[in-house]
Amino acid sequence: MKPPPPSIGVAQRRLLAALLFSVLVTATTRLAPFPTAAGWTLAGLAVALLAAVLLCRVNFLQWSRRLLFLEPFALGAATLAFWQPHGGVIFACAVTRATLCLGALVLLGQTTPFAALLAALRAWHFPGLLCTTLMLLERYRSVLVEESARMRRARAARVFLARRTAHWQALGELLGQLFVRTLARTERLYAAMCARGWRDGV
């Protein structure tokens, strides 16, 4: 059974909490004397994050799997930190900070659907044009991804020879066509919005 969507206030508080947590984690290594105090602070923040994960009753396995899936990107970027004095320490710091922040972000994504986050942004008076853009992006994201997959499948079903240059050209052609179709879809969408009484910025 799906839990009911969180209210605007709850979504706002969660977003603020994630932001505050990221600031705390990031500021730790500058403010606390290194290495012991900073290490203890980071450990405390990690315990707080784990407690939050348990309290939110999200699927722990799912949360950790998502975290593990995203971890290589952070590790890859962090390897550049090695080539400087005290590189090992800075590397360890960067990876720890990245992992903690990532954990908080994954938790936010798991507990709060995007619509609730968008409502929170609207309540904070984010520019209306940006909110409308975000709403339409969230609505049509999967539609356009599926449409491009359909076009690729259709091409693969008809084409036997695929050299590398042909692949590039086909990709360019596909995206160009997708854009033209997107324009046509926009015209239909605008007509539909007007039919439902849409006025500028609403």
């Binding site: 600031v23 990031t26 930190a81 080539w83 990532l102 992006l137 692949h167 995206l175 066509q177 854009f179």
Partner: protein, 315 residues
């Protein structure tokens, strides 16, 4: 190029977030003034288009594959302000829904890919288009390829500057590494951008002449925005250079005392552009800088020729 949280310190995050917010405000204002109501939903759908475009992989040598960012593609098709809004929306969704790119680093990511990538990329495209002699499709395609490559490298250099200013990575390492790798990635971005622009230009030639957003796209309207982009880049450079210049000194000293330069050199032989040194130049940092410039020029020429050839054949 999405920076995760934990790599930028609070000071750099705040500075880039302020720059990105300023540019976004200016961009939204430009869009609101120029955009006909019928095109408002296009912002959202164009963002979804960019999102779908980023999910398509193209093959690179050695069984690996990459994907495009689409900053310049969006800027050429929509205009700079609208492209920046669309890319900001994409980055926000990637951050909040997919945890791709950090929450605190969102400002830096919007600045690198939205402001530098789209707005400066659009300016480069306009300049190159004019330099290539005006309003033919071939010139537009070649200019798009050039702008896509250049904007990719510029965004990577900004990303490197932010990482170096945060003290996460030594400036001496991160600048050649990011610029070198993205000079190669940028070629892929340039090819795919050129092919898409050529395809759109053939299917709907009227789109490239005046811009999809209608209204007056002569470039006058976006002059302020472009000025802001350049100003912000200079501000960032001025803000970062004192931090960046401190780090190489420390590295130089340690490299001398511990023979550390040798292992750094070994690392770079593994990189796609091996050996950043030019022979016959005494100072290591001077040689690195010269090699960087030479490499940039070579790839620049390559991208240019490729774009010209592609454009000529396809039109």
């Amino acid at each position: 190029m999405h920076i995760p949280d934990g790599f930028l310190d609070v000071k750099t995050s705040a500075a880039t977030a302020a720059l990105a917010a300023g540019a976004l405000g200016l961009g939204l204002k430009q869009v609101r003034e120029n955009l006909p109501p019928a095109r408002v939903p296009l912002l959202g759908l164009a963002a979804a288009f960019v999102f779908a475009g980023q999910m398509l992989n193209f093959p690179i040598a050695g069984g690996t594959s990459g994907h495009m960012v689409g900053s310049v593609l969006a800027a050429v098709l929509l205009g700079p302000g609208a492209a920046m809004v669309a890319l900001t929306a994409v980055l926000l969704v990637q951050c909040l829904v997919f945890a791709d790119g950090g929450l605190l680093a969102l400002g830096a990511n919007v600045f690198n890919m939205g402001v530098i990538g789209a707005v400066l990329g659009w300016g480069i495209h306009r300049l190159a288009w004019r330099a290539l002699g005006g309003h033919t499709l071939a010139a537009a395609v070649a200019a798009a390829a050039f702008a896509a490559w250049f904007a990719t490298v510029l965004a990577a250099v900004c990303c490197a500057a932010e990482l170096a200013a945060s003290g996460t990575v030594a400036a001496r390492v991160v600048f050649p590494a990011m610029a070198g790798v993205h000079a190669l990635i940028g070629v892929g971005e340039a090819i795919i951008t050129a092919l898409v622009i050529a395809a759109v230009g053939r299917a709907r030639p009227e789109l490239l002449g005046v811009g999809v957003m209608g209204g007056n796209e002569s470039g006058k309207n976006y002059g302020a925005l472009l000025g802001y982009g350049i100003g912000a880049a200079l501000a960032l450079a001025a803000f970062l250079s004192p931090f960046a210049s401190k780090l190489p000194d420390g590295l130089d000293r340690v490299a001398e005392t511990h023979g550390f330069a040798e292992s750094a050199r070994k690392f770079f032989t593994l990189a796609p552009a091996p050996d950043y040194q030019l022979p016959g130049v005494g100072s290591v940092s001077l040689a690195t800088a010269l090699a960087g410039v030479a490499g940039t020029l070579v790839v620049f020429a390559l991208a240019w020729l490729l774009a010209r050839a592609l454009a000529r054949r396809r039109t």
